[in-house]
């Protein structure tokens, strides 16, 4: 079985955020939530200033703290080393969010995608409201990727957490996670750690790399190479 991981080449990453947008489209991620996000840091004083930009996502840790902490096994590792979430099992206790060192788990405390139930429009009598669009389209959520439903709740219901799944539904079809496929600079390299010839392994051997918060012992599988 595979053990999927991701290498992010910070030298190639331009910080455009296309990964986050692509992720939202692919996974029907609602407003305010980011499965794919970033951290940035500005240090020093002018003229000696340094800016760092680090794209972040679920690290799919080998020793995942969120999986250990979930009382009902709703967070679990699948056969390909991906940390998965079962929205049908989740009781909404939120312990995984506190166990997670990276802040990549979000909680649906409200009904998701509320925009489509909103009656207000940006410009009155000119632009359409969410409700109007939804009505005209004849579906509750007009912009929606049904592919997501293959392996996970297409839209996560109220009262459960949600997180990145490395686009397991695409990976199963032999495709790349959508963030990796959409990156204009090809900064995200996805592959199998078990396969010695994979590009992931090649890059990790070629370059010095680092992981986020490795000291916690979670064995995160998102590796960063080179510098911004």
């Amino acid at each position: 079985m595979a053990n999927f991981a991701m290498v992010i080449d910070l030298h190639k990453c331009v910080g455009c955020g296309a990964c986050s947008i692509a992720c939202k489209n692919e996974n029907n991620v609602q407003e305010g939530f980011f499965w794919s996000s970033y951290q940035h840091k500005t240090t020093g004083t002018f003229p000696n200033v340094k800016y760092e930009y680090i794209p972040t996502l679920c690290n799919h840790c080998e020793n995942a703290p969120c999986v250990k902490a979930c009382p009902v096994g709703a967070m679990y590792k699948d056969e390909n080393g991906i940390t998965m979430h079962d929205a049908k099992k989740c009781i909404g206790c939120k312990t995984c969010m506190l166990a997670d060192p990276y802040g990549v788990i979000s909680y649906n405390k409200a009904h998701p995608h509320k925009l489509w139930k909103d009656n207000s429009s940006a410009i009155k009598d000119v632009t359409s409201s969410g409700t109007e669009t939804s009505k005209k389209a004849g579906v509750p959520i007009p912009y929606y990727n049904p592919e997501r439903e293959k392996t996970y709740a297409g839209i996560r219901p109220e009262g459960v957490v949600e997180k990145c799944t490395f686009c397991d539904h695409r990976v199963k079809e032999g495709e790349l996670p959508y963030c990796a496929a959409s990156c204009p600079a090809k900064a995200r390299i996805f592959g199998d750690l078990e396969d010695p010839k994979s590009e992931v392994n090649t890059l990790l051997n070629k370059h010095k790399n680092f992981q986020l918060k490795p000291e916690l012992g979670a064995k995160p599988k998102v590796f960063y190479i080179r510098q911004y």
Binding site: G32, F33, Q39, H40, K41, T42, T43, P65, K68, A69, C70, P71, V72, G73, A74, K89, C90, I91, G92, C93, K94, T95, M97, L98, A99, D100, P101, Y102, G103, S106, Y107, N108, K109, A110, H111, E158, G159, V160, K213, L216
Partner: protein, 381 residues
């Protein structure tokens, strides 16, 4: 002093207030709660910790009678068991409002994850609830032979449950303020503290009603309270000093939020001064006068409520990612969350008063009446 009728009325008003918040959460969902992705655990978790730990503490003090055979405590064991049961049920009640999908609780049995401390929390407190019902049932029937073995098992279950509750937080090792071996022990200590305080309050009213005006039990409970106020104060001191000493990232900044940041007034004024220092001064300065013990116990409980809120908040106040400028995570509890806690306090008072009326909770235990009375008489002399 207020009589029973007035207390019933007060508790019903509190329940009414709580029902408003509870209904708001049930109808509109957790959207009406202040929790967010940065601070996923709010005051309902703090409230659950408050009730569950108090329940265990009251139970642990009852163990002194049923397990260790201290006769003074055999006299209070029925009331302690009843109080423990009510507090546990109120704790579970509060917790259910914090779950996104409480109806899926069955997954604890169908799909258990034994490596999750929160699973063990459910298992151990569930087991405690069963043992508590059995122990109370046989105690009320004065069936001493059945009570003893149950009480012995329950003693270990209580210790396991309350220390595991500390471990639920201590094992969240991504949160430096909570992680480590401190909180499992701290939970045991503060359990006994809340147990002694609550039983002091209960016995203040009961002793007052008695014609002979005996104050012996309040006196003994006051002594336990004093000892555990001192131990708790010391534990707080070490927690502060150790975090300050090393300046470990995360732990240090969380501590600073507590002692010199947004939580500092609640910490110093409510938790330390009102909850620990003033009760300690009240108790040490006089011969465990019943009224003073009562006052100290009430202040202690106010302090413990604040202690649980601070404990839950401080662990989440530091962002997982922070640059040079630290911006604290913010969480403002909504009125619905507050009122659920208020309602649960009302429910515990109400249920206790009903229990006190329905059951015979006096000390006719195991035919040991004469011995108990003798030891009480001795104490009073």
């Amino acid at each position: 002093m207020l009589n029973r009728k007035n207390w019933l009325l007060i508790s019903l008003v509190l329940i009414g207030i709580g029902t408003a918040g509870a209904l708001n959460i049930l109808i509109n969902g957790e959207e009406v709660m202040g929790i967010n992705n940065d601070v996923p655990w709010g005051i309902l978790i703090a409230g659950y910790v408050f009730f569950a730990v108090a329940s265990t503490g009251v139970g642990l003090i009852s163990s002194l009678g049923h397990v260790f055979g201290m006769q003074w405590f055999e006299a209070i064991s029925k009331r302690a068991l009843l109080a423990s049961l009510i507090l546990l049920l109120c704790g579970f009640g509060v917790l259910l409002f914090d779950l996104g999908n409480p109806l899926r609780m069955l997954n604890f049995l169908l799909s258990p994850n034994l490596s999750a401390p929160i699973w063990w929390m459910g298992a151990l407190y569930g087991l405690y609830l069963i043992l508590l019902l059995l122990e109370l049932n046989y105690s009320l029937k004065n069936d001493h032979h059945k009570v003893k073995p149950i009480a012995k098992v329950a003693f270990f279950v209580k210790l396991a449950a309350v220390s595991n509750l500390g471990a639920v937080f201590a094992m969240l090792y991504a949160r430096p303020y909570w992680s480590g071996a401190f909180y499992p022990v701290y939970m045991i200590v503060t359990a006994i503290l809340s147990g002694a305080a609550l039983l002091s309050i209960i016995y203040y009213f009961i002793d007052n009603k008695k014609a002979e005006g005996t104050q012996s039990l309040v006196k003994i409970l006051g002594k336990i309270l004093t000892a555990f106020l001192a131990v708790t104060l010391l534990m707080e001191l070490w927690q502060v000093l150790i975090a300050l000493y090393g300046s470990t990232p995360g732990k240090y900044s969380a501590l600073m939020a507590l002692i010199n940041g947004p939580l500092s007034i609640r910490f110093w004024l409510m938790q330390i001064v009102i909850g620990l220092v003033i009760p300690l001064i009240l108790l040490l300065g006089n011969n465990y006068n019943s009224r003073k013990v009562f006052n100290a116990a009430v202040l202690t409980m106010v302090g413990i409520l604040s202690m649980r809120l601070n404990f839950v908040t401080v662990g989440q106040i530091i962002p997982l990612w922070s640059g040079e400028n630290l911006i604290y995570n913010s969480y403002i509890p909504s009125w619905s969350e507050w009122t659920v806690i208020i309602g649960a306090i009302g429910a515990s008072i109400f249920l206790y008063l009903i229990g006190e009326q329905k059951f015979d909770l006096t000390i006719s235990e195991s035919g040991n009446d004469s011995k108990v009375m003798a030891s009480k008489a001795q104490l009073n002399s």
